[in-house]
Symmetry: C2
Subunit: 325 residues, 2 copies
């Protein structure tokens, strides 16, 4: 990995958001020539302070991935493209499904068309999601588990991932998709109330509020620290034998929401309470989920290095240093 | 069935195209109050002569399903909506994927949003496609076969079908999806060169041309006469225990392309030749396909009544009477 990105031209869509900015910082360390593309939509997690450590060492281009004209120009000379920009809220995808479709489905197809026409050699890494599986029929969930999403966001991401695979099969464009699970860590968006419980719980903990857990909190999930996710993305952008394939991320140690909350309580002294599931949230909740990431572990040599306790400690410390919360 | 549609308000998108117009004629016979919505895009099969037998007994509204404003108004008072409008060419979906997405994916989600907001009681029947399965991994293909489309059209239809199922699960909108296979018969669009081999072969046979078969012609497919498909759609719009479900259509007797051609040769005296598969067509060809329609047969009592030979004889006669070909 150390030299894979040296001098390489790398574009990151959503590059000023949570995962994108963490990736950008690491890419700069590795000597890449980094171009960040971001629409700066406030609700989607973009925050210029995210890239403060590398602000003078990256190029920033403000544009929305729905703008196919600028995208066609921007992809031209890039060696690697990380497609991270997206609408990630499940509940928001139900409230405004057409916007979710434009960003998570149409803009992804548009990016592929731009590459097909203007730069068919660029490696593209697509940040897909475990939401494609819907409610697990068996655990841990492998890549062969049926795809049965329970919300518009999951359907649109499924279509997008299929476009990426298809454009490899038909046109030979070197694409790789990683199905991300719950990602947390520094620079995560704590402001949005509807981007998953992890950010909400961490915000409540930092603010000294009582964490409100929907239901009994026994649902188990797998959590990846963003540094491990960045490492996975970098591998996906560098290793040739991953091309054309789809991989789960995941963590060897799933945790219940209650364990997640207990960890936050130890770190911050906050408390929690259980409240009934709101009807709209329950409708699209997937229950227990944890993924089998053996395929990616074997193919790329990736294994998450950071556990939940250590990861949350790091996350809380990062936000506290910045007086956020 | 006989009285299910009497006095019912029925909207058919794509109602002036191949399947839509055949459905419209039958709906008028059954006493329905029929509204046909069509954009009249020439390449998509709309032809006013298709509805000549019922022209004075249906309402016609010219609008495109991508126009969500008119759609919101049009759906308001309907009891049953048949969503048939679509871009059906696989090769065209590769040449112009964004248009395919707008029609087959975005406009379907938009129709569902219109119904959710303005008429959440209307039964909606979605004409889905066997293209969702891609290249069969086992035959006959059941509804549980993995979904692995090999072209943009298949991916977009998959997303659309999932929206229909989701809107039933989450909002209780009564949707039913039928996965159609090769449909042929009177009013099929013979002008388009890229809407599947059946129309192309029939046009070549009617014109006395040599039928050009790509490859060895041994691929087997199942063929439904449009009258059988119309019957299936009517059942899907009438029977309550089908709601929220997805069904294959199909035929008990699959035929090879060579058998299809031999049948046309007997009926018209035409000849054929084998030519190599063009690269772009071969890339998205799915090989042998025939579906298992047992689920729909059991749930709806549907069985196709028309075989290939009888169906082609009827089709050839229909076009010859109109001096088409």
């Amino acid at each position: 990995m150390d030299s894979s990105y040296t001098g390489r031209r790398v574009l990151v869509t959503g590059g000023i958001g949570f995962i994108g900015s963490n990736l950008a910082i690491r890419l700069v360390e590795l000597g890449a020539d980094v171009l960040l593309v971001d629409s700066m939509l406030p609700a989607y997690g973009a925050d210029l302070s995210n890239i403060e450590p590398v602000r003078e060492r990256v190029r920033v281009n403000y544009s929305d991935i729905r703008d196919s004209h600028s995208l066609a120009y921007l992809v031209q000379d890039e060696d690697v493209i990380f497609s991270l920009a997206g609408q990630v809220s499940h509940s928001e995808s139900m409230a405004d499904p057409m916007t979710d479709l434009e960003i998570n489905c149409a803009a992804q197809l548009s990016l592929l068309e731009c590459c097909r026409r203007h730069n068919s050699k660029a490696r593209i890494v697509f940040a897909s999601t475990r939401q494609l599986y819907g409610r697990p029929k068996s655990l841990p969930v492998t890549e062969d588990h049926p795809l049965d999403p329970v919300d518009v966001n999951g359907i649109n991401n499924l279509a997008a991932e299929m476009y990426y695979s298809l454009y490899h099969q038909v046109y030979g464009i070197p694409t790789v998709s990683l199905r991300l699970t719950n990602t947390f860590g520094p620079r995560m968006d704590l402001r949005s109330p509807n981007k998953g419980f992890a950010g909400v719980f961490i915000r409540q903990a930092l603010a000294g509020q009582t964490i409100r857990v929907f239901g009994d909190g026994n649902q188990r999930r797998d959590f990846n620290h963003v540094d491990d996710v960045v490492e996975a993305l970098l591998l996906a952008g560098a290793k040739d034998d991953l091309i054309g394939r789809v991989f789960n991320l995941g963590h060897p140690q799933p945790h219940s929401l209650n364990e997640f909350v207990a960890c936050l309580e130890r770190l911050t002294g906050c408390t929690h309470e259980h409240v009934p599931f709101p009807a709209d949230a329950e409708m699209i909740d997937i229950g227990d989920y944890y993924g089998d990431f053996d395929r990616f572990s074997k193919a790329a040599g990736w294994n998450p290095a950071i556990g939940l306790e250590q990861g949350l400690e790091d996350t809380i410390a990062w936000f506290r240093q910045r007086n956020i919360g």
